[in-house]
Amino acid sequence: MVTSATNFSRTGLSDWLVQRVSAIVLLAYSLFIFGIFVLYPELSFEQWSGIFSNNAVRLFSMMSVLALCGHAWIGMWTVATDYLTTLQLGSAATSVRLVFQLGCALLITVYLLWGIQIFWGS
């Protein structure tokens, strides 16, 4: 019985861990971004671009983009395999899920390349 052909890392335990580790990275990055807005209520372009041209911040941003990609894939896989099943959609389920997951893969690829462009582009 093939039940996990499209998950992230072939085993549920590893997916579970990736989901947690990426969650912590994304939590830290969200706090970092919220922190910037709280610390600099009147943010200027110089300050803003200054923060993001720092190499440590770039690395942190890139880690977050990668974490987002993994986290999003596992999350969308969970949603797709829970709600787009034969119980809800009948025999069309596998095709619908495949198209849905291909769409997710496309969006994740766009986010990855877009993130690289934003954080390392200039």
Binding site: M1, T3, S30, S49, A72, V79, L87, Q88, I118
Partner: protein, 225 residues
């Protein structure tokens, strides 16, 4: 881990039969090893077992307080209790009706609109919905971030864009989803460390999640406007 959690929840009970209704929803009945109590589990999404209080016998209610409420047990791979032996399947009521070519009129309480979900279940589905919203919303956030980091003019343009009420509302929506997802996710991490894993603990945890995320969402709204 899941198996041990299942057996912990159902201490004194053992799964004795798995019944699959042809083309419909699956259910399984768990009988007490020592008394006549039994509890029925339904499977509506192919993965989880849902337990509906109306099917609990009085004896079970008296015997096992921990079973009150909706217990949702996630199985690692599909409902493996579906694989009941062919011999047993042969004697299931559905098969019996099928063979007699009589319509199965036994009531199946599977109308989700009539079931009030507990807070934990509502928060769980909200966590998923906000996850999907964030996944799409990241496109807007990345666009704004890219624009603001592009140049001085881009930064001004992003500020200009964010000054419209519609944009503020959209950004607030995404930020709200993110805040909720972060708080609920943190609750998950706390539970992974073994805190609040009991039924009562989960109820308290979900209330805390609700209060903190509501507060943060209101603060975010005030801050954006």
């Amino acid at each position: 881990m899941l198996a041990s959690r299942l057996s912990k929840r159902l201490r004194g009970f053992e799964r004795s039969s798995g019944v699959q209704k042809a083309g419909g929803n699956c259910r399984t009945t768990i009988y007490c090893r020592y008394c006549i109590a039994r509890v029925k589990f339904y499977c509506i999404d192919g993965r989880s077992l849902i337990y509906f209080p109306p099917f609990v016998t009085l004896k079970l209610l008296i015997n096992s307080i921990s079973l009150i409420g909706v217990v949702r047990i996630w199985l690692p791979i599909g409902p493996n209790w579906r694989q009941v032996s062919a011999k047993r399947q042969h004697f299931t009521p559905s098969r019996h009706y099928e063979r007699l070519n009589v319509k199965d009129t036994r009531p199946v309480n599977i109308d989700l609109t009539t079931i009030r979900f507990p807070l934990t279940a509502i928060l769980s589905i909200t966590h998923r919905i906000t996850g999907v919203i964030i996944f799409i919303g990241v496109a807007i956030l990345l666009y704004l971030l890219g624009l603001s980091l592009e140049s001085e003019a881009g930064f001004a343009e992003a500020q200009q864009l964010l000054s419209s009420p519609l944009a503020k509302f959209v950004v607030w929506g995404i930020v709200s989803g993110l805040l909720y997802h972060l708080v609920a996710g943190t609750k998950h991490l706390v539970m992974d460390w073994g805190f609040g894993e009991t039924l009562a603990g989960a109820a308290i945890g979900s209330r805390i999640t609700l209060v903190i995320s509501t507060l943060l969402i209101v603060i975010a709204g005030v801050w954006i406007w």
